[in-house]
């Protein structure tokens, strides 16, 4: 039986002196190798440190680049003007008021007509008048003068009148947004030594800018336009993130209300109820794969299924939301499943043991314990969806939208798509900074989401 017996093999043991000699020899060899090996050890460790250093340096470089480019863009050139809402120029009827017995349609029609009338008012003249109070010769060089204020501000003034027609005939000092090129010149984002041909502003306008800046009329003020306005192409200085922000918010809400419940439900089914067989194995593999499918493939899915087959509107947040939902689903499922897996079976047995049904055991005992983990996973999934760009491009979201969407069925963009659109703008000197500012906003949102997730994990997660 004892095949492993070893007595016979050990008969050839070396005698003691041999052994000692051999040991001495070996010890010498070991000592000789030490220096080389310790150098090797140091080198290896240094390589590791260098790798960590490189990775950290990349993080630092990325953030420094974005912050240094983007932070100045939160302050934008504004011009302080005494605006007189001249009744000579604003010649319009009284603002319509709904009369008794008037149908809604009829009233809306009268309102539209009034607004059209207001639309014909030349607010540029009002702005020009205001500028000429600061620069007397402005009237003679209207083109140069109008380059000081961004063109979108005339609509701002129009909206003020539309809100409250009683301001006609009064005057007030307003900070208007300066033109994008004024901003570029003031911040030195263009080489001031370049010749006239390469400058965006005429020599006269540039002199005015310097003069007004010295007088304090032109100033960098915190840019509310960046947050309050939708995108704009005609008035670059007033291009803002409001439309993209609302679009992203809508999509995130859709993801939250679809991906999280569906994901959690399917995780519960797969982890707690599903029989372990070939089919559930397949589903598991399928979900793991889905988590690693390139995001652009989800965009293709959205383009063909939602847009081509279901005839849903192009560039609408509802489609974007659905695509991102499908993309986030595997993340939520995997996170929820691993949380459920970590909950010890003893808790289920305890519930079942006192006569709870399986459903009761899961919903009353297991799920409440899993909530912190589920929330953490879901928030991380939503943060990931927030930064996703590629699939949105394929469902038409790369088109220019100059309004804030009111419903998820209207055209919209999203924050990352807005970044994509802005980085391609031809006025690089202005938009490099503005794009960076948009990135800062996006990163700030994502970092806060992640911080919430980390906080949740730190404070509520139980380790079993």
């Amino acid at each position: 039986m004892n095949m492993e017996a070893s007595n016979t093999e050990s008969t050839s043991l070396p005698d003691q002196t041999d052994l000692a000699k051999k040991r001495d020899l070996m010890q010498q060899r070991v000592s000789r190798s030490l220096k080389r090996r310790h150098n090797q050890e140091t080198r290896f460790k240094l390589m590791g440190m260098a790798a960590v250093g490189t990775a950290l340096a990349f993080v630092l470089l990325l953030f420094v680049t974005i912050l240094s480019k983007g932070l100045p863009a939160f302050w934008q050139a504004h011009i302080s003007l005494e605006i007189y809402f001249d009744e000579e120029i604003i010649q319009i009827d009284e603002k319509p008021v709904r009369m008794v017995n008037e149908s809604e349609a009829a009233f809306n029609q009268r309102m539209l007509a009034w607004q059209t009338q207001l639309g014909f008012v030349n607010f540029n003249r009002i702005i020009l008048d205001a500028i000429s109070k600061e620069i007397p010769e402005a009237r003679d060089y209207q083109r140069d003068a109008m380059r000081l204020v961004t063109s979108g501000e005339r609509f701002g003034l129009r909206n003020m009148v539309q809100e409250d027609p009683s301001i006609i005939g009064t005057s007030q000092r307003l900070w208007l947004l300066a033109d994008a090129n004024v901003d570029v010149w003031m911040k030195g984002n263009i080489n001031r030594e370049l010749g006239d041909a390469q400058q965006q502003l005429s020599a006269r306008t540039r002199d005015w800018v310097d003069e007004l800046e010295a007088k304090g009329v032109l100033k960098n003020r915190f840019s509310t336009a960046l947050f309050m306005n939708p995108d704009s192409r005609s008035s670059l200085a007033s291009a803002g993130l409001a439309g993209a922000f609302v679009g992203s918010l809508m999509m995130m809400l859709i993801v939250m209300f679809l991906a999280v419940p569906i994901g959690v439900a399917s995780a519960i089914y797969l982890e707690e109820f599903a029989p372990k067989n070939k089919l559930t194995d397949l589903i598991e593999v399928n979900i793991n794969n889905l988590a690693a499918v390139p995001s652009i493939v989800f965009g293709l899915l959205g383009a063909s299924v939602f847009i081509l087959w279901f005839k849903m509107p192009l560039s609408a947040p509802i489609v974007g939301g659905l695509v991102l939902t499908l993309m986030t689903l595997p993340t939520v499922i995997i996170a929820t499943r691993s949380t459920l897996k970590a909950i010890p079976p003893s808790i289920r047995s305890a519930a079942l043991g006192i006569g709870a049904s399986k459903v009761q055991a899961v919903f009353h005992h297991v799920l409440p314990l899993a909530i912190p983990g589920i929330l953490t996973g879901s928030i991380l999934g939503i943060a990931q969806a927030l930064g996703e760009t590629a699939p949105l491009l394929l469902i038409g979201m790369s088109s220019f939208v100059a309004s804030v969407p009111g419903t998820p069925f209207e055209q919209s963009t999203a924050l990352p798509v807005q970044i994509y659109l802005w980085q391609g703008n031809e006025l690089r000197n202005f938009f490099e900074a503005r794009t960076s500012a948009a990135i800062i906003v996006l990163l700030a949102l994502m970092i806060s989401l992640n911080a919430v997730a980390i906080w949740l994990r730190k404070h509520f997660e139980t380790r079993w």
Binding site: M3, E9, S12, V30
Partner: protein, 275 residues
């Protein structure tokens, strides 16, 4: 495992051992060794000498610090971040914590076999050749072949594996794996071999083979073995040290310990009142 009561226990002592006295020279000695895990003191100042060509067994209830103490002899506690060792441990009269003595060199002289067989996920040959290659002990392939063969022979494994030296070491049975690990340890010609419960993961037959092997090896090495199995201690060791709560309670010739313990705790332990 249940500790047998005194009546049921049948101690078998190897009478050969009695006739052959320890060769006398002190190989390693520990002086006032303390080990701390963080702030907690796990070993409270232990003194012990290991003599050449002698087997010392460390026994004691689990958590008594016998493994921790064993690991001091080749500074394996260095690999645990929070562990700290104070006191003096001498190898041939030289302090092993001395800056001049490299831990690499120390471990080449003081080898170790672990509780669970832990062959590397490499071939049997590569497992044995690992140490000699690391330390640059050989210059050519035929020398290395020779070391592999003699090491396997001395570990009593050569016959079983000589035809499959290229197959993975993890494919062997538990007992074979442990002998492979012993062969791996002796391939670098250490002077001391530390064994940390080498048989605890093995079945009785594999255990008895390892025990025979220890007996063979004692001719060439100083051996310290931690065991939770008192019969094993009785079978293989010349001396037995009883540890309790981080203290070395008693060390003496094995027969003395088991037949005539000086300390009541030792007696309680070997008679199965606790442990």
């Amino acid at each position: 495992m249940e500790q047998p009561t005194m009546g049921a226990m049948q101690m078998t002592f190897d009478d050969k051992k009695e006739s052959k006295p320890a060769s006398g020279a002190i190989k390693m000695s520990a002086r006032d060794v303390k080990v701390f895990y963080g702030d907690a003191e796990a070993i409270h100042g232990v003194n012990m000498d290991l003599y050449e060509n002698e087997v010392v067994a460390f026994i004691g209830p689990s958590g008594c610090g016998k493994s921790t103490f064993l690991r001091c002899f080749n500074r394996m506690n260095d690999t645990i971040d929070i562990a700290r060792v104070t006191g003096e441990i001498l190898l041939d009269g030289q302090d092993i914590h001395d800056k001049k003595l490299d831990v690499v060199q120390l471990r080449a002289q003081v080898g170790m076999v672990f509780q669970k067989p832990n062959p590397f996920p490499k071939s049997i040959y590569e497992n044995i050749a690992y140490g000699p290659r690391l330390h640059g002990l050989v210059d050519n392939k035929s020398d290395l072949d020779e070391i592999v063969e003699t090491s396997l022979q001395r570990a009593g494994l050569w016959k079983e594996v000589k035809d499959r030296l290229d197959s993975p070491g993890t494919g062997l049975s538990g007992g074979q794996q442990q002998r492979l690990c012993i062969a791996r340890a002796i391939a670098v010609s250490p002077e001391v071999i530390l064994m940390d419960e080498p048989c605890s993961a093995l079945d009785p037959i594999a255990t008895s083979i390892i025990e025979e092997l220890i007996d063979e090896l004692k001719g060439s090495f100083t051996i310290a073995i931690v065991t939770h199995n008192m019969q094993q201690a009785a079978r293989v060791s010349d001396k037995t040290a009883f540890f309790h709560l981080g203290d070395l309670v008693e060390i003496n010739a094995t027969r003395e310990i088991f037949t005539n313990p000086q300390d009541s705790r030792t007696e309680d332990y070997i008679t199965g009142r606790f442990g």
